[in-house]
């Protein structure tokens, strides 16, 4: 079945450093979503990518969808302590429900 994997599982950075998490699917995805979950919180939608090779930016966050639509990345420039949390990618499973990747847990040291 379709699986969505993410690397790294954990990332510790110094405040001001950049951070990237990668999402990989075993099958081609029609689209992909990214969510952020703060510690003790609930997942919050960040963005959806649909087109092959698509790049979207939200302030310091840059999202990319691979040309083959089997991978995606989230890059944060100059991390801040407010970026702490777990970042999930999610892709469609069997054309219906979304399967979430295992997430990348980001720690930012001040």
């Amino acid at each position: 079945g379709q699986q969505v994997m993410q690397i790294p599982q954990y990332q510790h950075v110094q405040e001001g450093e950049d951070f990237t998490t990668y999402c990989n699917s075993s099958t081609t995805l029609s689209n992909i979503q990214w969510y952020k979950q703060r510690p003790g919180g609930h997942p919050v939608f960040l963005i959806q990518l649909v087109k092959s090779g698509e790049v979207k930016k939200q302030k310091r966050l840059t999202f990319q969808f691979g040309e083959a639509k089997k991978n995606s990345s989230l890059h944060i420039t100059a991390t801040q302590t407010t970026d702490v949390g777990t970042y999930f990618c999610a892709g469609p499973h069997r054309g219906q429900n979304f399967v979430f990747g295992p997430g990348t847990r980001l720690s930012v040291l001040p």
Binding site: Q48, G91, P92, F100, P102
Partner: protein, 114 residues
């Protein structure tokens, strides 16, 4: 006004008990979901409910049953609770099937089975 609300926020109960978690959304969405997040933070979909069509994740034990009295509510009933059911359960909703539009999550219910 909370978009997706779950009650209770915390639930501690003994093994073997039956419990329910309620979920309501005021977004007018037509699809609702239940997710389970374990201690390793893995988010696994349990059910989705769209226009009276229930899609069940085949790995979910039949002790778990969703009940939707109307489009704005999707409650989760759990029979004969087991220790392994301890987790955070999230309700979510979206307009249309998830993937076309964003999903909005509730605050979560932390279930502890002792």
């Amino acid at each position: 006004d909370t978009a997706v609300s779950q009650t209770p926020k915390y639930l501690v109960t003994q093994m073997g008990n039956d419990k329910s978690i309620k979920c309501e959304q005021n977004l007018g969405h037509d699809t609702m979901y239940w997710y389970k997040q374990d201690s390793k933070k893995f988010l696994k979909i349990m059910f989705s409910y769209n226009n009276k069509e229930l899609i069940i994740n085949e790995t979910v034990p039949n002790r778990f049953s969703p009940k939707s009295p109307d489009k704005a509510h999707l409650n989760l009933h759990i029979n004969s609770l087991e220790l392994g059911d301890s987790a955070v359960y999230f309700c979510a909703s979206s307009q249309g099937r998830q993937g076309r539009t964003e999903a909005f999550f509730g605050q979560g219910t932390r279930l502890t089975v002792v």
